[in-house]
């Protein structure tokens, strides 16, 4: 009896420590929210208010006036990147996992190496190419560039996932006369729903968060994503930090939604990218 009691006590003790650690870790996120609600007059107050007691939504109103087009562009680019990434990576994953192509290992190796190229290198190469093709400051151009952040990872995820589909199932389809294309479309894809979700989440998140490609390939264009919206805000009006932080809060919404609705896919993706199985 007393032993169970002691055990519950240590569990609660650990929970308390856990809550404190999480609070410390998430303090910057809280601070972003707090500043986004602070009045202009309190912005330079020293020491700053720890709670938004005189909260105001002015910052958010400014954002809705200024930043909606940026958010819209980011949404379009994010969805475009998802579509392009899945369309390219899912068939490749199927081939690498189930069709044992000659040279498949070389391709996997190239994909691994491709993930290690720093973004600034890719950005400079894309800049030179897009300048000649007239694709600078265009939405499709940025979608293609952003997809390079996700495609190698996506192929690896699809390969790992599709390797787990039982071979007998595909054999049975073949016996019934289904070609590789039909097998892929009617059996492999429906069974790979989880992989599609994981890949889509990461592709969207990475393209939504991309700053390097945005600032090099679409800076000054008619369609700039939200990361540039924030960047211009910081550059132009150094005083209105409630509006800057309100934009930051809105730009964080996809991450928040993903965390609440799809946390297990995120953890799965992080681990699969680093350690196979």
């Amino acid at each position: 009896m007393s032993r169970t009691h002691a055990r519950t006590k240590t569990t609660w003790f650990k929970t308390t420590i856990g809550v404190v650690l999480t609070a410390v870790m998430l303090f910057p996120v809280y601070w972003m929210l707090n500043v986004s609600l602070t009045r202009d007059t309190d912005m330079r107050k020293s020491p700053p208010d720890l709670l938004p007691l005189h909260g105001t939504l002015t910052g958010y109103r400014t954002v809705l006036d200024d930043q909606l087009p940026y958010l819209e562009t980011s949404l379009v680019i994010g969805l475009g990147t998802v579509a392009l990434t899945v369309a390219l990576a899912a068939p490749a994953g199927y081939a690498l996992a189930k069709l044992r192509p000659r040279g498949g290992r070389v391709l996997s190796f190239v994909l691994l190496a491709a993930q290690m190229i720093p973004g600034i290198i890719m950005a400079m190469g894309f800049y030179a190419i897009y300048l000649q093709l007239g694709l600078l400051r265009t939405v499709p151009g940025l979608i293609v560039a952003d997809s390079t952040l996700a495609v190698p990872f996506a192929v690896l995820i699809f390969t790992a996932f599709m390797s787990g589909i039982p071979g007998e199932l595909l054999q049975a389809a073949r016996t019934d006369g289904a070609g590789p294309l039909r097998t892929f479309w009617s059996i492999v894809m429906p069974m790979s729903r989880n992989a599609v979700v994981t890949v889509s989440l990461f592709a969207f998140l990475w393209s939504w968060s991309d700053f390097v490609f945005a600032s090099t390939l679409s800076n000054g264009g008619a369609h700039e994503p939200i990361t540039l919206g924030i960047y211009h805000y910081i550059g132009n009006n150094n005083q209105q930090w409630n509006a800057i932080m309100a934009t930051a809060v809105l730009a964080s919404l996809p991450a928040a939604v993903i965390l609440v609705l799809a946390q297990r896919y995120v953890a799965a993706g992080v681990t699969a990218g680093a350690v196979k199985d």
Binding site: L21, V35, P180
Partner: protein, 330 residues
Amino acid sequence: MTPMNQTTHPPDLPRPTPVPAEPAPTPPPGAKKRRRPASTQWAAWAFLAPVTVYLVLFYAYPLYRNLDLSLRNYTVRSFVQGNAPFTGLKNYRTVLDDPTFAPALLHTAVFTFVCLAFQYAIGLALAVFFNQHFRLAATLRALFLVPWLLPLIVSASTWSWMLNSDSGIVNAALHAVGVDPVNWLTSPSWSLTSVIIANIWIGVPFNLVVLYSGLQSIPSGLYEAAALDGANAWQRFWRITFPLLRPVSAITLLLGLIYTLKVLDIIWIMTKGGPADASTTFATWSYQLGFGNMLPAFGPGAAVGNLLVVAALVFGLVYIRVQRRQEALS
């Protein structure tokens, strides 16, 4: 190599070229199960074709253009017209002789290794902590992912404001305990520390998640046996957890190394590499040269970038080797 040899070869060896569509000769009986029919090969490469074309167009070609940039003397005009004179390694010499080179190298090394050390140590401590069973553990662990999921510009601008000299919460907190305010982002002696702090904060979740999944695969029976033998928590960590976690740790650190080496957004948004190059790394220097000035210096910028690629690929190859060896062992 004759076609005969090709079909009898172990099929999983890397092969540089796709097979020609020749009719496969009859394989020896033992190899029958591993035979790959030509039609499947065609289908396989048909499925791989889009991604292969994509890799050539959008990885290989930009990389080639970048190499080309670094070997020519580009000006704004010749950049548009595309007739810049070939100058060999001159851009690389310019970069090596630049007074920014030595500090950039030092900052890249310090930034990478200090970030890695702290991210790993904090991530491991948290992973061990969350590996115990207590209420809310799963929820709290999920919340720890937040810094990693946020767009980098969001994290960077939040930290910028927190570290603001006059109105930042950090200096206010220091003032409350009687410490003089620090010019986190505007003093040359502190700006590198500031971006390191922000980057550690962003990198901890990744280390936590991967190391936690590594801890999960350590059989709990080992701990029970050690506890029966009278090992305390500290001994159990150093004798069981740490040695058994070594493969996962190696992968985590190598991936972290590759990612940290190329960090650009955080530093650029918080300090632009300044003040006076005090937080310049190779990544920000390359960006600065190519896009940060009114007159872009694409040649030297690409040269700096290519040095970074070489470094990343060296560690990348080490990573792939380590991973292959671990797969072979398991």
